[in-house]
């Protein structure tokens, strides 16, 4: 899909600040120099084409009372698929990425309560036989907003 100037304006200009009012698309469209109907259609197309992974409110998991952490383990090539399946089977595993490193599997755990993080990690260690490194966020210096196309 080829992006035109309006698509780029939407991607660059609508990463935050979408209004909370009766007709928010009309308000946002006016700022972008387009119409409500056109903005809605463009968002539909950008989402369908996968150029946007999401549109809506971004929630701060920890402030909602849940637990959130980044964890890593070393599975190794032989056990890799089995371990990935065991890790992914936990509904608390939100994302899981293969990475090029000795610690070759990196996953995000999101739990209903902070205490549940340790239980899920213990379960994953017991099932996989792999040591899990728990790397919770201690301080946040920046979380992105300024991606430009």
């Amino acid at each position: 899909m080829k992006l035109d100037a309006l698509d780029r304006a939407i991607i660059n200009g609508l990463q935050g600040g979408f209004p909370v009012c009766e007709r928010p698309y009309a308000a946002a469209a006016a700022r972008l120099g387009t119409t409500e109907a056109e903005l809605i259609e463009r968002l539909e197309r950008l989402l369908e084409a996968g150029l946007l992974s999401r549109f809506g409110p971004m929630y701060h998991a920890e402030r909602m009372g849940g637990g959130l952490t980044l964890a890593a383990l070393h599975a190794g090539p032989e056990a890799y698929e089995r371990v990935a399946e065991q890790v992914n089977a936990h509904p608390e595993v939100a994302h899981n990425y293969a990475r090029e490193h000795h610690l070759d599997m990196w996953f995000v755990l999101a739990t209903e309560t902070p205490e549940r993080i340790a239980e899920v990690i213990a379960a994953i260690e017991a099932e996989t036989g792999c040591r899990v490194f728990n790397l919770p966020k201690l301080e946040e210096f920046f979380v992105g907003l300024r991606f430009e196309v």
Partner: protein, 177 residues
Amino acid sequence: MAQPAGIGQMALSEAQDDRAIDALDRAIVAATQAGLPLVPEPYRQVAEALGVEAEEVMARLRRMLESGVIRRIGVVPNHYALGYRANAMVVWDLPDARIAELGRRIGALEFVSHCYHRPRHPPEWPYNLFTMVHGRSREETEAKVGMIAAMLGEADRGHQLLYSSRILKKTSLRLGG
């Protein structure tokens, strides 16, 4: 999705501290996690699905934005689909005493999308600062990492780039309750 019983009766004036969220807030979060409806009055549509007034949904969203429970409302670009194919998690071993100062400086760079202090696990894992650096090619990403290293000077006691090679699982963050 099952709705908590009785949220339609919940009063707007219910006493709450700034940070606490209640069952209706949770229901609004759950109803918008997959995204905001692409209709002219999206908040009204969410409200109707939950059996409350649109004004109530908007008031709650505004309050959650103010308290930081909602970081922002907007689009999330897919870096990879937009041509940023070389996205590296770059981890740094920095002096603990300088982590806040340096973390803020690195986080202020326009090509860094996340910048967090996380615990070390020595000796296997000596790194205490995590960043995500995005580039269209590995050369571009590595040049950006080089800029950060130059900025850090001798405070950079070691860093590594971890490229992702495969997505094993990706769901939107789930909300329990």
